[in-house]
């Protein structure tokens, strides 16, 4: 039974999404509890799956019984299972948040809003588990299509941002598909494990190197790596407040995970360490991304855009971690990926509440909030500590392991880039806190009604998770080091 959990984890949100328009035809208010209960079940299942995988080793699931190179295979290894726990947890919290602040002008289409969120979750599950390059493409596109629709769901100025996101995202997907067809032309297979067996003899082929480059650009657009990041700030800042946490915390990180799978599991650690200098490429681009993202974040006035650029800068830190080519750096990178997903969700919950309750969008107006919500300010302090990387939070330990890995690889440029981006992150949070505390509360906002429990729940739970990831960093990094490392690293 436990062997079927990976398939179940995907089918549950998918079938819920498909059946929701029918089940909630008469009672549209059922859609929210239905979606939340699906995600709640997913948390339980993903925990069972993680413990099963840690005990019995990776699950290789063949759909409809067709064995791997011919059929479609799903691989639930410890890395995928770990990410999936984070994915279903964040999806659950983000859904609770989205329910309290769902876009007002949707009316009867609110059912479709939840359908899109569930489709997004199921597609992301598919990307995490996919053991087949083409399967990865299909799920990337399903996830992307639901995100385009979710960005534009409330209409207004978000429509144009969604359109730009769609144009760039589709270009990225086409380039990824082109890369996959190069790989297929060279090796004659699409299964990741099968291709990993065949590629070592094909590394001199220009088709492999070219295909890898196309895949990199394609996935680079999807994960908003710096030269290709132009779609992200517009899309995430104009998306409805209830949607941006789920997009910001999950979509780019899962695309990054897909890229990590391709370089370490398909090409293999041997090839990337010795034959193809792809780690150098992503190391340099990661260093650029983390510094440029933080500089751009510092120059923003709109808080949502500032956090969106902060996310871009952290994608760079994760890439620096995985590009060091040693175990410490890789574990640090994956651990930072988990942290960043939680922190991005928390930051966008925070700004969502600030917009809903006080109507504040710009840094300069933050002072108007006054001292009305100490729990909100308190959790913002924890988020800032996590983003900057101060000791009790997960952000510190992630950066710590990444820097240790970079020192092990004698890569001082990477260390410098991380330290510089840390300083810049400190700078933009100082800017936020300065406006928050120094500006007198001139306007006492009459709209400041009682905060819904769902808002408090989501912010407090994610801030607690930032601390818990920091306090529990030893077992989690140990788990990654012992179980989730790519073969041969």
């Amino acid at each position: 039974m436990s062997r079927h959990i990976p398939a179940l984890l995907f089918l549950l949100p998918l079938f819920a999404a498909i059946s929701m328009p029918m089940a909630c035809l008469k009672h549209r208010e059922w859609s929210r509890p239905l979606a939340i209960s699906v995600l709640g079940t997913m948390i339980g299942l993903s925990l069972v799956n993680l413990s099963f995988v840690l005990e019995h080793g990776a699950i290789h699931y063949d759909f409809s019984g067709w064995a791997a190179p011919l059929g479609i295979e799903w691989v639930a290894d410890p890395l995928a299972s770990l990410i999936l726990v984070a994915l279903s947890f964040l999806g659950f919290v983000a859904l609770i948040f989205a329910g309290a602040g769902e876009p007002k002008n949707l009316g009867g289409r609110i059912v479709h809003f939840y359908v899109l969120i569930l489709l997004l979750i199921s597609a992301l599950t598919g990307i995490v588990f996919a053991g087949d390059l083409f399967n990865l493409f299909v799920f990337l596109e399903v996830a992307a299509l639901s995100s385009y629709a979710l960005v534009g769901v409330a209409g207004g100025r978000a429509l144009f941002a969604a359109f730009r996101y769609l144009i760039l995202g589709t270009l990225g997907a086409s380039l990824y598909l082109l890369g996959v067809s190069y790989f297929y032309a060279a090796s004659g297979t699409l299964n990741m494990a099968d291709m990993a067996d065949k590629l070592p003899h094909l590394l001199i082929s220009r088709a492999v190197v070219g295909g890898l480059l196309f895949m990199f650009i394609g996935l680079g657009i999807k994960m908003a790596l710096v030269p290709f990041h132009a779609w992200l700030p517009d899309a995430y800042s104009s998306a409805p407040e209830s949607v941006s946490p789920i997009l910001a915390s999950l979509v780019t990180k899962v695309a990054l995970l897909g890229w990590v799978r391709i370089i370490f599991w398909v090409l293999g650690a041997q090839a990337v360490l010795q034959d193809i200098p792809v780690l150098l490429l992503i190391g340099v681009l990661g260093a650029l991304a983390t510094v440029i993202g933080a500089v751009l974040a510092f120059t923003q006035h709109e808080i949502k855009r500032m956090f969106a650029y902060g996310g871009i800068s952290h994608i760079g830190i994760i890439l620096i971690g995985v590009s060091q080519g040693n175990q410490t750096g890789f574990a640090g990178g994956i651990f930072y990926l988990l942290n960043d997903a939680v922190m991005q969700a928390a930051l966008f919950f925070f700004i969502g509440i600030v917009i809903f309750q006080y109507g504040i969008r710009h840094v300069e107006d933050l002072g108007q909030m006054g001292k009305q919500a100490p729990w909100l300010i308190g959790s913002l302090v924890i988020m800032a500590m996590g983003m900057i990387g101060l000791p009790p939070t997960g952000g510190f330990f992630g950066k710590w392991y990444i820097i240790l890995g970079a020192l092990e690889a004698d890569n001082y440029v990477a260390v410098g880039a991380i330290l510089l981006s840390t300083l810049l992150t400190l700078a933009y949070f100082v800017k936020i806190f300065e406006h928050l505390f120094r500006t007198p509360a001139t306007v006492t906002n009459p709209q400041a009604v009682e905060t819904p429990v769902a808002f408090q729940f989501s912010v407090l739970v994610t801030s607690a998770a930032i601390l818990i990831l920091g306090l529990g960093s030893d077992p989690i990094v140990g788990l990654i080091l012992n179980h989730a490392l790519p073969p041969g690293l």
């Binding site: 083409f134 596109e141 144009f160 969604a162 769609l166 067809s181 297929y184």
Partner: protein, 125 residues
Amino acid sequence: MVDVMSALFQRPNFLIFVIIFLWGLYIMVTRYNLVKKLVGMYLVQTSVIFFLVSISAKKGATVPILRSTTDTVNAIDYSNPLPHVLTLTAIVVGVATLGVALALCSAIYRTYGSLDEEDILKRLE
């Protein structure tokens, strides 16, 4: 140089793929009308599909269905079904993307009364 040229003209499918791909990319970058941008985007998607089909074409091969169970199977006689299946899926993905894109376009037109990127950007200011 001559080698490269002759290699190119021996594989006209690659040449056509590159031309369609770049053509689509050029339209996407240079046109201000959103629907024209979508035409460019669809050309890019189609060029990749064309590439997949063209690398799997095989002279004198037939559909991969066995006519009898007793004859020996020669793989040479059959064309590879996998790229064609991939192509079908890629076409479906492309159509879905285009559907979402056109829905966004019509919503943009209803909101801004224009499909010209510059007009919309001016209205957004």
